[in-house]
Symmetry: C2
Subunit: 244 residues, 2 copies
DNA sequence: CCGACTTTGTGCATCGCTTCACAAAGGGAT
DNA sequence: ATCCCTTTGTGAAGCGATGCACAAAGTCGG
């Protein structure tokens, strides 16, 4: 399920799927502002893409535009939502209630459309029993039961790196086939399971690469950056845990 | 700087750059376990990629392998680190100290290699003055001063969506050209500025899409999706037009 | 009803990334 | 030194994504 484009994906390219949420967000904003119809050009600008690309993307869903006019905002919202599977409610479980897990649990946009946090799980007895964002934190022991009984189909992994693969295995055994992984490890899963990863340090490193290029190009002076410890930054004590 | 591949990038493709951190992480793990040399095959497995791809990626940095033997782990770590610009220290400022900002500030892997949190900034007087991960939270008013004086070259945006563009503009004016954006908005910046975005809800929506496909495939009852435009769309406002 | 104008949907050329497959290069044994 | 084995580095084919450019299709004013 990792492969770029599926045989029977009804021909919706992966690259298009990745952009649909972007269009959807832009459309929601427009709907709220009372915009009734929008041209591919305007929507493309709002989503930060090329208008030809946008039209081609939308054409994969069907012909939902009107030539000479544009797209009906509400209708398009519905069509994209349906295509993305947001017309139903997805039960999500968050495993690992460290700093990040807490942040995710409190993340409003989570619940907003299509997703519902159905469980918070952690191995640490210290946090089990806490209430976060109105949810009780349960012990990881009940993982399988929770997944089964509450119909969890998407699991968010926010555990320390060391625990991620083990939890992942259990989650997969329990029948979950969609995982969003925040732990900095390469998870190994069967082909039938979809894993998407969000990795802060990778993003920073990519930025650093380009930044270095920029600095080295024009007129690289002194590599500043390290110069002054400046005020209180010097006493950055070791952070609590390796937990993300 | 958004363009996929730069003319004078010394020819390192963007796709390759995005994988180098992955290789680096795998190599660090191996170095810690005392592995001296590694073959492209083994490293590829550890990083979750195809071995031919890995070799081609590494070949963009130079010929650092030994035929018949493999790659020297430590040497390769150094070469990749240098290429990514991790041999210097990058000062990072985190703007927006909500749940996510806090989690990021406490993220250990942050400081570990090449990156140093140099400032935490927020607009809310309630949190300004707090100490998080050993750092004092300062008011957003001093943004420009902090960026200038502490040599901040990478800014992490963890503000609410509504504030993101404004903060972004200020950050860019202050001379920052690398931004990691967690706010769910499309930032508009000059071409010379690199923006990478991390967007939880987009990732979830992509997972939902594939999950829906999986559910609809094997033996889903209804399915719809394919054949006809389906009439139940009526519950949303009427489509601009219908039929054929 | 017509003609000018707008905007969609898409064929096509192009581009960059992936993957295969293999020659070239090194190590080690005899 | 020679042969065999391993593994790298890369030419070339294949594949999907991008963006241009335009015909088709629709709107609107007269």
């Amino acid at each position: 399920m990792k492969s770029p484009s599926h045989s029977r994906d009804r021909g919706i390219p992966e690259a298009t799927v990745a952009r649909l949420p972007l269009y959807l967000r832009a459309l929601h904003g427009m709907a709220e502002r009372g915009v009734a119809t929008v041209s591919s050009e305007d929507l493309a600008v709002a989503a930060g893409v090329n208008s030809a690309k946008l039209r081609k993307d939308l054409s994969h869903l069907g012909s939902y535009g009107t030539r000479g006019v544009g797209y009906d905002v509400e209708y398009l919202v519905y069509q994209i939502s349906r295509e993305l599977g947001l017309t139903q409610d997805w039960a999500v479980a968050i495993v690992g209630v460290g700093n990040l897990g807490r942040a995710l649990a409190n993340y409003g946009g989570f619940v907003s459309r299509g997703f519902r946090v159905a469980a918070l799980l952690d191995a640490d007895p210290e946090v089990v029993g806490d209430t976060i964002a109105g949810l009780n934190v349960e012990h990881i022991d009940v993982l399988e039961a929770v997944i089964g009984r509450r119909g969890v189909s998407i699991v968010v992994l926010a555990t320390p790196a060391a625990a991620a693969q083990e939890v992942c295995d259990r989650v997969v055994s329990a029948g979950v086939t969609s995982i969003l992984n925040f732990a900095p490890v390469v998870l190994s899963v069967p082909d039938s399971v979809d894993v998407r990863k969000v990795d802060l340090s990778i993003e920073l490193q990519i930025l650093a690469f380009h930044e270095q290029r920029k600095a080295g190009g024009p007129l690289m002076a002194v590599d500043s950056a390290v110069s002054e410890p400046s005020e209180q930054t010097g006493l950055l004590t070791g952070p609590p845990k390796e937990d993300l």
